[in-house]
Amino acid sequence: MKTRMRPAIALIAASALLGGCSMLPTFKPIEPWVKPYERERLADPIMKLSRDSLPEKHFEHVRDVREAARGATGVQGGGCGCN
């Protein structure tokens, strides 16, 4: 089983390195399915995960000093550890 898996792993690694180039026509790369010209709606401010940094930072601070959970907010850290 191990010997059978090795060529497959080598093939995946090779195709990854070659970036799915024309040498390996069977491993056609998955193309980005949303083209740049289709991203107009996503660029609208209404779709931003974080719109203004100071108000976000203020909410993070208010919550950090009252709740035990922290992190993974996407808002850059910093500031005080004050309680």
Binding site: A8, V34, K57, V62, G74, G79
Partner: protein
């Protein structure tokens, strides 16, 4: 005859098994091909694109928090300016003027006022599909000084459909106690983060963030007391803490100049705290100039191992910090933005107002004045001007 039937049956069974094996091998090969294609595609599709520097931007904010006997308010300013289209510098100034008469303070000490000031400076540098952000901040209170440095790298891959980010922060705090010059301690904080934002369709995108947090040193308050057999004793917290947080977000355009988002975060740490946060929000343009947002947020957590409302045994660590107790809070918030003036490609000025109402309910923290479980409501108000230029 019977032997022949058995032999034929064995042959058929062998044939079926071989056929199944062949199908399974084909499925494996197809799966491997897809996987190879995906990895190759992600690496190859970035092409010769380049990310843009964040826009030049300024914000002036007045913020107010009021709840549970605490009022914290003040101004905050942020200015971002790019230099030579390669580097963008951001300066931030933030003030928190705190008037504290919280339940901890009124039951064990006297109300007080103090001011916290924070200065931060950061620089963004873009190179092809990558953006590197280096930031430093310093925060000063009369009895607490916190310095923090961070570096974050984001990279666009897969033809700009995926944005991967990596980050690291290190904070170093100096803790003192008013009226006790002999007390001086420190705390160090490390944060490691990893995230990805993925465009799903022309209308939907999602993000996943993970962060590992590690703290070392004095991780409590030199003023706070715990209760052991009904008597007040200084709280004793462990000097290390490690936490993990993972957050998933989904945001979608609903097609009528409106959008919705949903978020979930799970947190747990080595103090045995587990927390869940969920948020659901809706945004909508009203006419050409107005943008309205509304959201509901719910947070719940379990208590730390050494938390006790009133300990009935002597333990190495003991705390009555209600931030470490079992509680939940629910919030309702709204925000309104008005575009005062917009000249596309040149500048845009917006006036913004936000309000959030939160109700906290504690499950194992007693109000010693009444003997009943504690709870309170709080309000957050933000008024700010934001400009892109």
């Amino acid at each position: 005859m019977a032997a022949t039937r058995r032999s034929n049956a064995r042959l058929r069974a062998g044939g079926v098994a071989r056929l199944r094996g062949l199908r399974a091998a084909r499925r494996r090969a197809a799966l491997l091909r897809r996987l190879a294609g995906l990895i190759g595609g992600v690496l190859a599709a970035s092409g010769a694109r380049a990310v843009d520097l964040p826009e030049d931007h300024a914000e002036a904010l007045y913020h107010l928090y009021n709840g549970g006997g605490v009022t914290a308010q003040g101004p905050a300013l942020l200015v971002r300016k790019s230099i030579a289209d390669k580097v963008s510098l951001t300066g931030t100034y933030y003030v928190d003027a705190v008037s504290n008469a919280s339940i901890d303070v009124v039951t064990t000490a006297s109300p007080y006022r103090e001011t916290r000031q924070e200065f931060a400076l950061s620089g963004d540098y873009v190179y092809r599909d990558s953006q590197i952000t280096v930031a430093a901040s310093t925060s000063h209170e009369p009895d607490y000084v916190a310095n923090n440095g961070s570096i974050d790298v984001t990279q666009e891959v897969f033809g700009g459909m995926t944005n991967v980010s990596l980050g690291f922060s290190r904070g170093s705090d100096r803790v003192t106690k008013k009226g006790s010059p002999e007390f001086q301690d420190h705390a160090t904080h490390w944060q490691y983060r990893l995230g990805a934002t993925q465009i799903l369709t022309p209308r939907w995108l999602m993000s996943a963030n993970f962060e590992a947090l590690s703290d070392d040193g004095f991780l409590g308050s030199p003023y706070r007391v715990a209760r052991v057999f009904g008597a007040a004793v200084p709280e004793r917290n462990p000097r290390t803490r490690t936490g993990r947080a993972v957050k998933l977000r989904l945001i979608g355009d609903l097609g009528n100049r409106d959008a919705m988002h949903v978020e979930y975060r799970y947190f747990r740490d080595t103090w045995a705290i587990k927390a869940h946060t969920a948020e659901l929000g809706y945004s909508r343009y009203l006419g050409q100039a107005w943008l309205a947002d509304a959201y509901a947020r719910y947070y719940t957590q379990s208590h730390a191992l050494f938390y006790s409302d009133n300990a009935i045994s002597e333990t190495t660590y003991v705390s009555r910090n209600r931030q470490l107790s079992t509680f939940n809070d629910g919030s309702l918030g709204a925000k309104l933005s008005y575009t005062v003036r917009k000249i596309p490609g040149r500048y845009e000025v917006k006036l913004n107002g936000a309000y959030e109402y939160t109700r906290f309910k504690f499950k194992d923290f007693t109000d010693v004045r009444t003997g009943s479980l504690y709870g309170y409501s709080s309000s957050v108000v933000q008024l700010y001007v934001s400009a892109i230029y």
